[in-house]
Symmetry: C2
Subunit: 497 residues, 2 copies
């Protein structure tokens, strides 16, 4: 990866003076074009060896461009909020919105590289993290992000000379810290693992640019022109950017036999049995979430279902058993403008619970493959890849210790009609029924197909969907509570072994 | 405070059944009226003794109203992000937006009450925290928030009986934890300090409702009807809510002699002296921010000034000396919709730096008393109280260890004109000049008056404004850097003594 960066590069002062003014002007034009038409964000990652000019280049970019439209983030060690969540969480949190540039000074690549070089992770874990990175960048890129990754390179000798020179001059001595020398001692390892990491993450949608860091003029102009070229190419596309828009359609069962049709929606449970079971299960759930072993996990519950299927009632029976300081219920409605300026999963990443906590989603990220698909709010080039992105998201949660359970509450069309009518008749239930609910009913079959696809494509042993026969509310609540308790207990017991 | 809550209250089953349906319907109407016209948020605080029905009431409110429009937060011990900031920070963070209900299950009152009852703070600190709370609630209320505070009361005997009864029944035994008995042992202290705290925080704009917690029907109906009455009263106001709208106008110097006129804007500094001073000061600033003692502080720098006064250039000279992982530059532009739904200072509280970090604001909360005042974006009933709110905000920062410095960069009208013209002529500086800048110039005198009022009313020894003569950019940068270094050094040295 570093061969061409070690053959010596420089730009003369005259050349620099001739090229910079036009470059600055073009960069500003690009930045303002992007601001005017905020279709995508630009994410710039700055990496490389100490003393290779990363900091100076960062300053220069902020000087050449309008810094008020740049979101610069330099990542320090994760704080306890970040440590209690999947490692990518803090990078999600700082993504630049559409229409803006974001600069990550150090990033997930630094975590991975330094942990490996200091032997805190082995090569298997390194490759796992590289896979996490690749999925993250692919997701961003499919969502439209322009991703530019720079590696500022120096040979070992050049790094040493540069550190010494900086140290010698009293005006710049403060720029060299103990950490720089510590990193210098690690040079060979860093180089080896960086080469591996860069190679494996050098994708078409997010390629690395390795920049020779020895000459100020060369590296500055190289970065500036690379940013300009990439922005300009995207801005000047004659059509709106789309990831592949040739998704094939999903095959459907040729015998028209659908999973949801196999459910026996009417189930028996008398009131006395319900009350007893409810008390017992709420007690059990409370004890499980107060169990010391739960402190290493979190619980993520997703509720989807037909309108009027009883999601709210199920959720209340669960929260009654939980410590109010340890759970949040997230009703999912229309995104805010801050959320709309981010990749679609961003607003759910925002609410990922920390260890020892429970997050309950009343509707969820599955809206992407349900209402957004059925109503055509997003094209198939978006919802088709949502299955993969959702599985990736949930995988990251589970890998970090979360217990993720998803419930589809199913009622029959007749039961739904009866409930709609009852709601319209009862004053204090009126708010639960809207014109939209009636409209959705008309598309019952389209939704059914979407639900079956969703379950098939996103249900796994570790992150299962539970289909809940919900014509009888009492039965549904008990089934949900019992599923939660069983899964929680199984996971905590698995810890012990 | 608790007398009337101990005389015995109950509501019969028949009465309950007769009143609840109409109450639910009216509550939902109020909630939907608020959603339709999101003029204000409703903040409901739930406090009181354990086993007095707080949790049940929380559940009931979530059942009676549409829970998707309620933001419920139960506060646990603060995490490290919160501990690194003023104690009110985490309550700011969770405020409900306009148009929604927020329920704080426990709040700043719990911090104060338990810390005092467990003798972790003395009565002087208790009164200081009560003062913080009063200012916070007054600010929210002036901003339009409807604040409802409930104290669920039980006598000591009643608490004991209720805990025993819950424990005896195997179905409810799990509801009683060790912590409940620990709090029971503290009853007398909690009661004494709560009475003090409630009395001192019982204001006209945020009164306490003390509710007898013994009878389920009584306490539920009491809370429900109190919420309804308060919401309805506000919703049915015949005119938009305003805090006092009778602010007198600010007196102006009758001799027309203004503070800004006393500055000698043209200052000398040759290029060589500038370069030397810059290197020395950047080195000094770097050392100061890496000083171990700085880990207990944070640095907040505010830049305001005439258009084209050189704020960006000053900021860059500072950030060049800082560790990129330890600072953020916050360019202040128009608020997002999430920000507009919150009290005006919320978007600045969002960016309060943690200990060891620096936050640099390129324009700031002072926009409230500058552009918003001059351009009439908000009425005098808002900007007149902003001085007080700003001073309170900065006071909280400083009390928590922050070093807060504010710079006004002043140029003459002639110098500004020259810079505007130069910017229009230089391609890559064009972005720095807009029509708005030309318009602002026409209101030069209005701005001058606003600036002088701002400085007079918000400059103190601990949070001073520094007026920077900025016709000479080099001079201005050095003055700013030196001021920052001197203030930082003085504060760190003060720690040692």
């Amino acid at each position: 990866m570093f061969e061409s960066a070690e053959i010596g590069h420089s730009i003369s002062k005259a050349d620099w003076k001739a090229r910079v003014p036009a470059l600055r002007e073009a960069l500003l034009d690009a930045q303002y074009d992007l601001k005017q038409k905020p279709d995508f964000p630009v994410l710039i990652l700055i990496h490389g060896f100490d003393a290779a000019g990363r900091g100076e280049t960062l300053n220069l970019v902020n000087e050449w461009l309008d810094p008020r439209l740049i979101h610069t983030v330099a990542f320090d060690a994760p704080n306890d909020e970040a440590r209690a969540r999947p490692w990518m969480w803090r990078y999600w949190r700082e993504l630049p919105p559409k229409g803006r540039l974001g600069i990550y000074f150090g990033s997930y690549y630094s975590d991975t590289l330094f942990n490996r070089s200091e032997d805190e992770i082995d090569s298997a874990e390194l490759d796992k993290q590289i896979a996490d990175i690749l999925r993250f960048e692919r997701m961003l890129s499919n969502d439209g992000a322009l991703i530019l990754k720079f590696w500022f390179h120096l040979s070992k000798d050049a790094q040493k000379s540069r550190l010494k020179a900086l140290e010698k001059d009293p005006k710049t001595a403060w720029r060299v810290t103990e950490k720089d020398w510590k990193h210098y001692a690690l040079y060979d390892k860093l180089r080896k693992h960086a080469a591996h990491m860069l190679r494996l993450t050098n994708t078409a949608f997010a390629p690395w640019a390795v920049i020779d860091g020895t000459d100020h003029n060369y590296r500055s102009l190289a970065v500036g022109e690379a940013i300009l070229a990439a922005m300009r190419a995207r801005l000047d596309l004659p059509h709106p950017f789309l990831p592949r828009s040739d998704s094939p359609s999903l095959p459907q069962p040729i015998d028209h036999k659908l999973l949801l049709d196999t459910l026996v929606l009417d189930q028996e449970l008398d009131k006395a049995a319900y009350k007893n079971a409810l008390d017992a299960l709420q007690g059990r759930l409370n004890r499980l979430t107060r169990d010391a072993r739960f402190a290493g996990h979190s619980l993520v519950l997703v509720f989807e279902g037909n309108d009027a299927a009883g999601k709210g009632g199920c959720i209340r029976r669960i929260t009654q058993a939980l410590d109010a300081r340890r759970y949040r219920v997230m009703p999912v409605a229309a995104p805010s403008d801050e959320e709309r300026a981010q990749p679609w999963l961003w607003r759910f990443w925002r609410h990922v619970p920390g260890k020892g906590h429970t997050a309950i989603f009343d509707r969820s990220w599955y809206g992407r493959v349900l209402v957004e698909r059925v109503e055509g709010f997003c094209g198939s080039e978006h919802w088709m890849r949502a299955y993969y992105e959702i599985n990736d998201f949930e995988h990251q949660l589970v890998a970090d210790g979360a217990i993720v359970l998803k419930f589809w509450l199913a009622t029959s069309a007749e039961e739904q009609l009866a409930r709609f009518q009852a709601r319209e008749e009862t004053g204090f239930k009126r708010f639960k029924i809207t014109d939209e609910d009636w409209r959705n009913r008309e598309r019952w079959d389209d939704y059914k197909l979407a639900v079956c696809d969703m379950i098939d494509r996103t249900s796994t042993t570790r992150v299962p969907w539970t289909l809940v026969e919900a014509n009888n509310k009492h039965y549904a609540r008990i089934k949900v509570l019992k599923t939660v308790c069983d899964a929680l207990e199984a996971r905590l017991d698995a810890d012990a072994n």
